[in-house]
């Protein structure tokens, strides 16, 4: 009798989900955000189809405001996996110069929500893997593994298909698409343990290092390039920081830390008293903001 560990069971479940998508979708894609969850998802895809390379491309919906270190890992990760990397930047947002400093919520809406819709329409993808987990946020806890979006990409939380056993109903009408979340049942701790156990390469920003920072609205932000508007006379302060979650650098709060190894990161996480989304400006609106964003088509 072999007792499978919880990570072995989570891994097997995610692989099963990915293979089901491959068997039922015509044109799948994996959304790749370069973060730790994407890294785990990509690793699982390599396992699911080995010895074949994962039979779909990676898609990065880029906002042009990610950390430099993320852009560096992006190309390398795709190449290592033997997958095509597609990068989409919303041309309208680009033209209008939408940025997180001047445009607030519009930045996320145009670069990410609109950008994603554009990319899915452009390439006619009918299934997109995403790295969302149910433990991240309240409205995520109720999302199905196979989540259906209407022709306009909207999510209807009251009209979800029941998911029984391991039987996923992937049938869809014309113009409809599926978002698939193979990491649904993973927690933040599971992700870190798995990265540690499997030796998965992640962006160095997750590890502590001295980095130039400024404080904005209670968030500790990293000055990642010259686009960061400093107040007159303001100079970035070097602090030992790392990130629990990665997004657009002007929107992602760092925490002061000395953790430079995975066990130390896990140690900090277990002893910490705040959730990982606390560092995200996007979730700070009204209580049900994520649910609202998802109905509009946010991933």
């Amino acid at each position: 009798m072999t007792d499978l560990t919880h990570l072995q069971r989570l891994e097997a479940e995610s692989i099963h989900i990915m293979r089901e998508v491959m068997a039922s979708a015509e044109n799948p894609v994996m959304l790749y955000s370069v973060g730790k969850d994407s890294a785990v998802m990509l690793h699982l895809a390599k396992k699911a189809f080995y010895p074949s390379p994962p039979p779909f491309p990676l898609l990065h919906v880029d906002t042009t405001w990610k950390f430099q270190a993320m852009y560096e890992l992006r190309a390398k990760a795709a190449e290592d996996a033997g997958m095509e990397l597609l990068v989409h930047q919303n041309p309208e947002a680009k033209e209008k110069g939408i940025n997180p400093f001047d445009h607030g919520a519009l930045h996320t809406d145009m670069w990410k929500t609109e950008g994603l819709k554009q990319a899915l329409d452009k390439y006619q993808f009918d299934a997109a893997f995403g790295g969302a987990r149910r433990d991240e946020e309240k409205s995520r806890a109720k999302e199905r593994v196979f989540s259906f979006r209407g022709a306009n990409h909207q999510w209807d939380p009251k009209n979800q298909r029941p998911e029984l056993w391991k039987l996923y109903n992937a049938r869809k009408g014309k113009g409809e698409s599926i978002r698939v979340f193979p990491l649904s049942n993973w927690t933040e701790l599971d992700i870190w343990q798995y990265i540690h156990l499997e030796n998965i390469e992640i962006v160095p920003l997750y590890f502590s290092a001295p980095r130039p920072t400024v404080e904005r609205d209670g968030l500790l932000l990293m000055v990642d390039d010259e686009r960061f508007p400093l107040a007159p006379g303001e100079t970035p302060v070097e602090r030992h920081i790392r990130f629990r979650t990665l997004g657009c650098y002007p929107l992602t709060g760092a925490e002061e830390s000395k953790a430079t190894t995975l066990p130390e990161i896990i140690q900090e996480m277990l002893l910490t008293t705040t959730s990982e989304r606390q560092g995200r400006a996007i979730d700070k609106d009204a209580g049900a903001s994520m649910e609202k964003k998802k109905q509009e088509g946010y991933f």
Partner: protein, 637 residues
Amino acid sequence: MTDTPSVYQTDALISQDIDAYLDIHQHKSMLRFITCGSVDDGKSTLIGRLLYDSKMIFEDQLASLEADSKKMGTQGDEIDFALLVDGLAAEREQGITIDVAYRFFATEKRKFIVADTPGHEQYTRNMVTGASTADLAVILIDARKGVLTQTRRHSYLAHLIGIKQIVLAVNKMDLVDYDEARFNEIVDDYRAFAETIGIQAFTAIPLSGLAGDNITNPSDNTAWYQGPTLLAHLEDVELSNTLEQEKDFRMAVQWVNRPNLDFRGFSGQIASGVVRIGDDVRVVPSGKQSTIASIVTFDGELDQAVAGQSVTLTFADEIDCSRGDVIAAASAPPAVTDQFESTLVWMDETPLLPSRSYILKIGTQRVNAAVQTLKHQINVNSSEQLAASTLQLNDIGVVDISTDRPIVFEEYADNREMGGFILIDKMTNATVAAGMVRFSLRRAQNVHWQAIDVDRQAHAALKNQSPRVLWFTGLSGSGKSTIANELEKRLHQTGRHTYLLDGDNVRHGLNKDLGFTDAARVENIRRVGEVAKLMADAGLIVLTAFISPFQAERDMVRAMLPDNEFVEVFVDTPLAVAEQRDVKGLYKKARAGDLKNFTGIDSPYEAPENPEIRIDTTQMTAEQAADAILDWLSKNA
């Protein structure tokens, strides 16, 4: 606030020796369970408490929780744990849980996945959904109220879906002064009921989700109770995943892995048993045999793999195997059937239509299936069998199902993965039902298709024609019969062997027992489809003139016939025009309310989306229509 109990993370170990901690936590097992109870039994509070006690709630979440508690909480200045898990905005307003939500927490021994399933009656389908992947069910009872109808319903469903571990959580003990007699009374009540539905054993625990008694720590308030706390019990129960390994080997093929000409592997997740290199295996349903050459994974080849693992297998011989096949132990392969008895839980607003063709998904197999017989419905409150002609949302019934191709299966009681299936509506793509195979109907194994020497090709060849079923569909009074009649005359004149099946005529004979409800309309078309198929087998060109309002049934007949033999002719007459003609005076009667379920008036007509031929009768006479169809036939001979 209760202190964090030691069963969770040992902070000391984390801070002093993180590597030792990680080693322990990498060997944790995983238990999936559901919580169910009535609307006010305190499920969400209990789960909120488990998360809170296991430190799965962080300070920022707690701050927003405290703010929410003051704003809309029901607990005064205390934290309302229910707000933590009632996620969707709509539910927060209504104060009820309306969808299944998954929560996670962990102790030293186990990771837990909790399906929080709603107690509200109309959402029973969510409870079945949550239960389908669970090893254990926590059934909550309000100590003040005792065993309720909802308790019976949820227990019945949990048992039906094959959950072997039942916990009776007698909650809100603080509100009955931790009274032992009250607890015993409830347990006795529940036992009496449980035995009637076949629940052999359960574990009863007195607790309070709000006050925290017997959740993680034994409570001084219930000194009379010697059993485990809820969490201690969850940590120690046996996992069904381990038990699956003792059964015969089965793996449904998900995907054929062919990176190059030298490698052909079969990928899947092992449903039961153990597979080793050199094992003799059989591919079902084809029956082809080989031996396992290798068990391939990204992390290297394995000597053996067990139930629950996702692997890729290669065979020693080149034999056919593809998605939908089951690879099984050669000495004990699973059975195959195309007719079986099953329990069905209906999950859609649109009721079951017996005879309608649905998509059935079981394992990785996908076939067309129809409910042949609805034997009875089950009242889940009383376990009574009721006569029924259909199943509505949340109804449970026992049915006979037939499939268009044999499926590989095992009885659900023996193997959940090989015996659980879903039905999908072909038009809406909704998952309309969950089913559990009870047993194969013996008929299917004994009645074999009679092979006939003079086959359909021989019939057609003698008549020197290609058989066709010209299926006229359209509203009453659209002109189907008139055009079909005109067309048959022309075909007959050119020496074709034809037969016209007309709606009104068939209803005087073959289908005189059928009315005009949706279910009867489906059966009407099924029979006509079967007759048309036999006639086409005999080599005839068959013309049918039926309203046939539903796309699903037209597609069902199409699926019965070889490719290109079914020709859908949409006689497209707007309702206003048909009603104005009203040749038989039926529209007038229907409008007056003297004729019920009349298509176009109080019963729907689904116009064909892609008919082979569309006849616009506002632009064409019957003669012109017949010409157009003849023209189409000669071009598509």
